[in-house]
């Protein structure tokens, strides 16, 4: 069996998949559960390949241990297969629509020069992060823990740009489009909308920098939207068009995707897109991730061992992270690391008792400053979003 082995392709602009032995390729394509395969996209280090085209690549746990996720390790998520390399010299951001009095076209230079520069740390998390852990399973990209990352995003405020274009009082939604597109003209283009209030929030940015560097191609160069606290579906990459309108946007990616049962989850409402049955996913739910030890790890009997990880939510910040070492009967507060901001993740650590040999059932439960707490059970929903149930980890002291 070759299943536990992984193969790597170098990041030299082309992939080395042709070197993949036939037997291995057939196994990877077979109906048995495929193992994680690490592959490097151009400009990226090897990431967990979920799909080649459109490219969906997940950050391995080992790259989620630093406070800021490295640009070349940051996850990649696309819906459509045509992803042009945008030339920053000819790139323009067009702002218009019925609720804009003075339409505008901005070059990257003008965007950088004419507006106040802002940077903020924020979690960027795919709506379907952890879909692969859903029970019962749900179709879609079978993400593990790594369809998320944390970065410092640098750019300008969307509201400053909208106000320069004389935003009208009848504005209801702000529609965002990027340069990526589909192969077939009939396939719905990936466009998203935001309620105008969220677009005008001081933390909603048009970012051109990630961790102090230009955005990587596969994370939306030259500019993308940043909607801190909301799931990554709204963080439109390769941004080219911003349209403000007085009526709800009726594109497929708002009306037909990224929806959750109305009233099933906490979080901001998107009233103009809501129906009695479903509503758009909006805010990230309170959640946590254990970075060490890894599942199934053996801890040395009597040796100090530390549990570490991150906790985050949709923008109130984390108030407490509780740890249980008896399967959830008793809880103890973990120590929290430095607060990097309310949209950032918060580090936690907890000393594990290794004085007794045997199995150790660890659980982690984060609570936000807004009072939301990770639930014991998943709220099942058809698209497999919002997996924020309490984490458990089986360890062995020996």
């Amino acid at each position: 069996m070759l299943t536990r082995r992984k193969w790597l392709a170098a990041a030299t602009g082309t992939l080395l998949a042709n070197a993949l032995p036939r037997a291995r390729a057939e196994e990877a394509a077979g109906a048995s559960a495929p193992e994680d395969i690490l592959i490097a996209l151009p400009g990226k280090k090897p990431l967990i390949k979920r799909t080649f085209r459109p490219p969906n690549f997940e950050t391995p746990l080992a790259d989620l241990r630093q406070p800021f996720t490295a640009n070349d390790a940051f996850f990649v998520r696309y819906h459509l297969a045509v992803i042009p390399e945008v030339d920053v010299r000819t790139w323009r951001l067009r702002v218009g629509g019925p609720s804009i009095a003075r339409p505008l076209e901005l070059s990257l230079e003008e965007l950088k020069r004419d507006f106040t520069r802002v940077s903020l740390p924020a979690i960027n998390q795919c709506s379907g992060n952890r879909r692969g852990f859903f029970s019962p399973r749900v179709p879609g990209v079978q993400w593990g823990n790594g369809a998320m990352g944390h970065a410092s995003w640098g750019g300008v405020r969307l509201r400053d740009v909208l106000r320069k274009c004389s935003l009208q009082g009848n504005a209801l939604e702000v529609v965002l489009n990027g340069a990526d597109g589909a192969l077939l003209p009939q396939t719905p283009d990936f466009q998203k909308s935001l309620p105008v209030e969220r677009a005008l929030d001081e933390n909603t940015l048009i970012a051109f920098e990630m961790n102090g560097r230009p955005l990587p191609h596969f994370n939306g160069a030259p500019a993308r939207l940043i909607v801190p606290g909301w799931t990554a579906t709204y963080w439109v990459k390769h941004l080219t068009d911003i349209r403000v309108q007085p009526q709800p946007f009726d594109g497929f990616w708002m009306k037909g995707a990224y929806r959750i049962p109305t009233g099933a989850f906490p979080g901001a409402r998107f009233a103009s897109q809501e129906t009695p049955e479903t509503t758009p996913i909006t805010q990230i739910l309170v959640n946590s991730l254990i970075t060490t030890p890894t599942p199934g790890a053996r801890l040395a009997h009597g040796r100090p061992a530390q549990l570490t990880g991150w906790a985050w939510d949709g923008g109130t910040g984390i108030s407490v992270v509780d740890i249980s070492v008896d399967g959830g009967r008793n809880w103890h507060a973990a120590a929290l690391e430095k607060d990097l901001g309310r949209f950032a993740w918060r580090g936690f650590r907890f000393a594990l008792d290794t004085s007794q040999a045997g199995p150790l059932a660890v659980a982690v439960r984060a609570t936000s400053r807004g009072g939301e707490q990770q639930p014991e059970k998943l709220t099942v929903n058809p698209a497999g979003y919002h997996d924020n149930k309490i984490l458990s980890l089986s360890l062995e002291v020996a």
């Binding site: 109906a31 996209l41 396939t187 037909g256």
Partner: protein
């Protein structure tokens, strides 16, 4: 590449999209069986074939029917009416949980 039709479909995509992302996906091979080439060439015109094994463990005939019709109705996949059933039959036979 063993299958000329699939090779042609991938080459056409490469011309259209001109992207390095394509590299690597030609290593994905669907299991042998009636309808394999038809399924591969149809699906690959929009996405890589790894979507199929990725979702296989949770798929059934009913969910493949739903999925194939979603590709046609929502995403504009061009599938001749007479090809729909052989594609669903192939996927159900080889990629169901």
């Amino acid at each position: 590449m063993k299958h000329p039709a699939l090779a042609a479909a991938l080459a056409a995509f490469a011309l259209l999209a001109c992207t390095a992302v394509l590299a690597g996906e030609e290593s994905i091979r669907l299991v042998d069986g009636p309808g394999r080439d038809l399924t591969a060439t149809t699906c690959v015109s929009c996405h890589s074939l790894d979507y199929i094994p990725m979702n296989a463990p949770l798929m059934s005939r009913a969910s493949w029917e739903k999925s194939v019709h979603k590709m046609i109705d929502k995403f504009g996949a061009r599938v001749a009416p007479e090809d729909i059933e052989p594609i669903i039959a192939y996927l159900t036979a080889h990629y169901s949980g």
